[in-house]
């Protein structure tokens, strides 16, 4: 209905291949970016910026990373949190040990180290597939966490394993307010999302999807299995690593290794499933949904408490949350395996064809 596309024709391949070929989408995206970059930091309150939007963006980036590996390249990973942990601790160490380390450089080092770990644990993917691979990534999860816990170097020998993120500064501007941290996170996420989109729409992305959809055919048309799978692991881990670094630096500030337990991997996996496997937009939708859902649940339980005049225990609320999450996952897998992104796409298609039904 909102889409009035008549007269939007493409006379070059560049126009036809652009990320948002429809004018209305381009306008929508521009509006969204203006809101995110200008309106939100101006008008958003501290709580929203630091407790909701920043973690949302960080987790969206992690989900995007997992999506590259699992959604696009079809290699299931349960070790997302481990890659994030590598990113966080290595960024910390980069800041600690390299003088004059710029913060973005530290994020990149965190990402690259995660990519290296991803490569190592991606090696089995050359020989094993599917379920077996999931177990291999589980090994990564447990091993990495153990290593960070046990090897004092990672946490600069802090007795509890806890690290405190260093002060951030870009070109002399301190990044210490919630708004500044939010903006830093947003910028990094926006750039990396764009890069991911570019990657997924070019040959690399096609190769990933080919491996996912039909690996025999992929190798027959000349896609190198080993290179493609390892690349998927490396890129995915890089994204997770940067997300982990920002999780520590922009969101938590003080992190212990236990922040990156298996549960976080699952959370990111859920974000991907609910948002939509194989969709960049889906990563954001899923992260948004799962970030906002507990808040919504909290509000609901608060109003329930007020209405009934009782107090619900924390355990009750958190267990209910777990049940609902689990049930949602199953529901999405059964009803809409491609998640919110597909629903969005269907809705958009409907609007484009309106008033026709199909």
């Amino acid at each position: 209905m909102l889409y009035r596309e008549a007269g939007q024709f493409k006379s070059t391949y560049a126009q036809d291949q652009q990320i948002f070929p429809i004018l209305q989408d381009r306008i929508g995206m521009a509006v969204l970016l203006v809101i995110a970059f200008v309106a939100v930091p101006l008008f958003g309150d501290q709580y929203w910026l630091s407790a909701i939007l920043t973690p949302f963006l960080v987790l969206a980036l992690a989900t995007l990373g997992l999506n590259i590996l699992t959604g696009y390249a079809g290699q299931l990973s349960l070790g997302t949190a481990a890659f994030m942990a590598v990113g966080a601790f290595m960024a910390y160490n980069a800041m600690l040990r390299i003088p004059h380390m710029p913060i973005l450089g530290a994020f990149a080092i965190g990402g690259l180290c995660a990519a290296a770990v991803g490569l190592v644990f991606g090696l089995p993917s050359l020989r094993i597939k599917g379920l077996y691979l999931a177990v291999a990534t589980l090994a990564c999860q447990f091993f990495v966490l153990w290593a960070i816990n046990r090897i004092g170097w990672f946490s600069n020998h802090s007795s509890s394993g806890v690290i405190t993120a260093q002060r951030m500064e870009i070109l002399g501007y301190p990044i210490d307010t919630p708004a500044a941290k939010y903006l830093l996170t947003l910028s990094v996420v926006a750039v990396m999302a764009l890069a991911a989109k570019n990657l997924m729409r070019s040959e690399t992305g096609h190769a990933f999807m080919a491996v996912r959809d039909m690996d025999v055919a992929a190798s027959v048309i000349g896609i190198p299995m080993m290179k493609t799978k390892l690349l998927a692991f490396a890129i995915s881990s890089f994204y997770c690593g940067v997300a982990g670094a920002m999780y520590a630096f922009c969101y938590l500030g003080t992190v212990e290794p236990e922040a990156f337990v298996l549960d976080l991997s699952f959370r990111v996996l859920f974000m991907m499933i609910i948002g939509g496997a194989g969709s960049i937009l889906g990563s954001f939708l899923g992260a948004g949904f799962i970030t906002l859902f507990p808040i919504f649940l909290n509000l609901a339980s608060k109003s329930l408490e007020n209405a009934l005049g009782i107090e619900l225990s924390h355990a009750l609320v958190s267990n209910t949350e777990a049940v609902i999450f689990g049930a949602l996952i199953i529901f999405f897998l059964i009803v809409e395996p491609y998640g919110l992104a597909r629903l969005w796409q269907i809705g958009k298609e409907k609007l484009r064809l309106w008033p026709f039904p199909h």
Partner: protein, 263 residues
């Protein structure tokens, strides 16, 4: 047959190839050759070893014995990736398209070996990545036009009817600009009209791009019309080799197809 390009020298020769799965011999000392720019058919009843032969030719299976020479080079353990690099493309009997992608993306994927830029350039959409992407799009569009699938260019392949999917698979194979194209029962499961279309496309490909074509087919009739020479397999052995007319008259072939008991 009226051809624009003459049939050339030997492009591929297969000598004494045997292949066994466990105790079962799928191929037993098969030898034949393929000339440049030829349409070469491998036929035979079900279970004759046709698919195994094709899988050996592009390195999906490795023969236990025998050698394969392609453009004069000998290969014992060629993997399918290597085969693709040498210019061997193929289609599959049970369509092996990438279901999650559109027709255009499927065919674009067929050009992956021609991409020179690195993934970093692609991520940043820098000059070369962008230029290559657009160049390949142009080449792919030519193929889409050639196989007359323009109207479904942006449709996810999963939504297409069977006959069109087969054509898309052919397009993907062609996108690699192969020297030799292996077609695994390209007309299986098609109605008469679709078969005729497919025959026309195969001949057009052979003619326009000069591609050498090796096809296996269960249905003898279609093959006889479009191939220059035919190899007949039965129970993993070659039982006849020659022009369609010669093969058609061969008693062993007739027996094989009529299911006469083997001695």
């Amino acid at each position: 047959m009226d051809r624009g390009r003459p049939v050339g020298e030997v492009l591929l020769s297969v000598e004494g190839v045997s292949l066994a799965f466990g105790g079962v011999k799928a191929l037993n000392g098969v030898s034949f050759d393929v000339y440049q720019h030829e349409v070469r058919a491998i036929i035979g009843p079900n279970g004759a070893g046709k698919s195994s032969m094709l899988n050996v030719l592009n390195g999906v299976y490795h023969p236990n014995q025998g050698t394969i020479r392609f453009r004069g080079e000998e290969f014992r353990d060629m993997d399918s990736h290597h085969a693709a690099k040498l210019g061997i493309a193929r289609t599959f009997q049970n369509i092996a398209l990438f279901k999650g992608m559109t027709v255009l993306d499927n065919v674009m994927t067929g050009r992956n070996l021609k991409i020179r830029c690195t993934f970093l350039e692609q991520a940043l959409w820098l000059g070369r990545a962008r230029r290559e992407e657009l160049e390949h799009r142009h080449a792919v569009e030519e193929i889409i036009d050639f196989l007359e699938i323009q109207h479904i260019r942006k449709t996810p392949v999963g939504r297409l009817p069977y006959g069109l999917q087969k054509r898309v698979e052919l397009a993907r194979a062609l996108a690699a600009e192969p020297v030799m194209l292996l077609l695994d029962e390209p007309m299986a499961g098609m109605n008469l009209e679709e078969k005729q279309d497919m025959c026309r496309f195969i001949l057009d490909v052979n003619d326009h791009y000069g591609t050498t074509i090796v096809l296996i087919e269960h249905d003898m009739g279609v093959v006889m019309d479009i191939s220059d020479r035919v190899v007949v397999l039965d129970y993993g052995r070659k039982i006849a080799d020659g022009t369609p007319t010669e093969v058609r008259g061969d008693q062993k072939v007739i027996d094989a197809y009529l299911g006469v008991a083997h001695a």
